[in-house]
Amino acid sequence: MICVFALGSLLSCSKDNDNLTVDLTKYNPDITAQNDVDKWLTSNLVNPYNIETVYRFERNFTDVNRDISPVYLQQVEPMMNAVLTTYLQPYEKIGGKTFIKTYTPKQFVLYGSPSYNTNGSITLGTADNGRRIVLYELNSLDFNNPAAVKRPVRTIHHEFTHILNQNIVIPPAFEQISKADYTADWTGAANTAAVAKSLGFVSQYSRSSFGEDFAEMNAHLLVEGQVWFDNYCATTSPAAAAKLREKEKLVVSYFKDYYNIDYRALQAEVQRVLKEEYGATDPVDQTKTFKAYLIGNKVASFTFNPTASHYATYGQSSSFQTVYDNYKTSMASKGWTVQSIQFIFASASKMTFRCVFTSGTTTYNADYDFNMSVDYATGKTQFTKALPEGSGGSYNNGGNESIKPAFEAYILPYLTNRVFVASFFPTAMTASDPDFGKFGGFYVDGTASNYFYGPIVLK
């Protein structure tokens, strides 16, 4: 062996490789001129963050089989400015320079049209290997329309979440929350937005996997904002809302625990930029409704006392007044003077009706328990009598032979034979009124003139 090797090395010649070496000074760059957009990109993205923007049509960064249009030159700077202000700068401000420079993708690729999938859907963005984000459909993007701007911004935040997750994995607890409901067929007809919502997902796409769910949660919380998310939770079933809240909690703690980022500050910063620079506005707060208060177990009680001045100001239902007067008259025939009635909410599903009455100078309470169900979507509320009655002095009063018949004759049938709707009063009052949200109560579903309400006492 050694012999052969020696022979080989003796005979070997030194080959001239000059012609096989490519002289890189003669390499052919295809982009030969810097225009104004290039200059802006250099000073705002290349120099500070080492981020390249490929906006001049490059087939190899997308699906070569598809027809995808180039982006309009004039859309490049507004889009990348949005990347800078709604994504890079908020993270830089809250998470620090090192954080954003370390983790941000280094290449953004822009296309003018969407990428059409074979199933008829379109792709709006992709992220590759934590290095590249590809954004589509930018030609039709109107930067004066905040809802339109939010879409690519959400895509960027979504994709960036994946990059963070590739560096530090999603806490295992997150996967468990909706484990049974993830499906590969998330684009299927069965997975409507309403279905996804009712299962506790922030979007249809969230259902595809817990990784996408996490990214969608983060993107929606940052870009759509907390008011939007609170509304979303308030308008779905309590079970779904609980899942969404649990996911929200884990997203917030993920950023704090692993990246030491104050998530609420980050969210506020993204929202501030969207509002100040793109004219975004918070949606109408749908959590400020009486039904949401009841479902959220925020209400302690409200009192109906017809002599109170607010009934003169905001109106009084003659239908209900008749019920009350009949009750009062019946009680009076036994020597009890009814002063007021109270609706006390021990929980989101329990209501106690209390009659406050006097005999001479002594004041007594008579209590009766009801089960309560409030529909989260419509606010429709039904009461059923809860038995057995509670124990204690007030319940004993309620059971007294001289007190109970009046309740059973007038109050019990009124409350249990109707479907009510939980609402603030007066129902037409707008959120700008200083008295908005002060009075709550119920009107009979379909008969808006039959109602009762009182000043809300919160827990």
């Binding site: 390499y27 001049r56 598809r66 027809d67 249009s69 180039p70 003018g112």
Partner: protein
Amino acid sequence: MGCSKEKTELVFGEAPEERISEELAQWKSALVSAPNGWIAGMGTSAKGGYGFYMKFTDDDKVSMYSDYNAASAKTSQTSTYRLKWGMKGTLIFDTYNYLSIMQDPVPGVAGGAAGKGYQSDVEFEFARLSGDSAIFTGKKYQNTLVLVKATKTQEEQFQKGDYETSIAKFNSFFNTNAYLKLSINNVVQQVAFDLANKSLSFTSLQEDGAFNAKSAKFYYSMNTIEILDGLVIDNIVMKSFSISANGTLVALDAAGKEYNIEVVDKPVFPFELYFNYNKTYNAIYIEGSKMPAGVTSDFNTLWNNQIANYTANNVSMISMTFRLISSKQAKLEVWFRSGSTDYLADASYDYVISGNTIKLSNYVPSVSNANWNNGWVITAIKNYFIDAEFEMAWVTSSTSKSAMIGGLIKKNTPTSFFYGNVKKM
């Protein structure tokens, strides 16, 4: 003992990157050095041809006009371009411009198919530089993009907005003059322009009686219409059309020879070549209560009487159709409306076609129901068709040069003919 090998031989003389560099530089300098820019024509796979004016500058910018619509014909738009080496040298229109409209996969932009557009490219591979032309081939759809150097005058015309007027002039010519004919090598050709699809066709009659149709995509240049890639008719390459000073249309072949085009008021080839149960058309029909305008025939009186009869009975005419339903049977079908219900009255005939005559026999009234016999078609019209012998011919209208009206002329009575629009049913 060791070898002393010579330098590796370069088969093509220079290293690949040097040769690439030379070719890119050659094309770039060609594009940029055209002092007055280029007039360009491009084909698409799903639609016709599109014309452009382009001016390339050294800083990777290109400004454009296009014949896509009126606005693009008079408003210049600037985008970037670059030359890149792939499998071949490639010209890429790499930000959005008029040329991207044809490629745009969004149906809302130009009405193309979702995900496909007009099936066109924004990347074009170098084919060849020859004389005043630069020729490219679309990278994916392989359609030609041809650039021809513009003159100083042409550049000024584009800047003044003359492109739009030039296009409008052609379009109004074709909208009023539908039937065009010319002779190439003594063979009569009918020329037809499809303005919506930017394509045209030359049709001649073969000895066996069949049509020979050849079509091509066209685009608008300044004051001319250019046939993309040319169209070979009997070994002559037809290239373009222009409108002469006296308002006539002139065709030009590759050798520069002019062909005068004659405007005719009805299709060039006889009606009988188109009309049979298995040919281009098999039905002559009248829709509504009015016959095609601008035609004088004895049948007009019969029609008016029929309409008057309907009016008197509170019904209205939907359509009257004479059609050849099989190789031997024809039908006359009259649809009319009473209230909101449509009714049919029909009769059938046997027919024999010989040359340009059609002879009806074996009249069977009330084929589908009793309406025919119950007076819903007036006797004069019934009698008009019973055992009748007609000559088939195109009918001209005094008010329209684009109407396509087929007629059945009563044998030996040239002033009496049934007529209507034609279709295949």
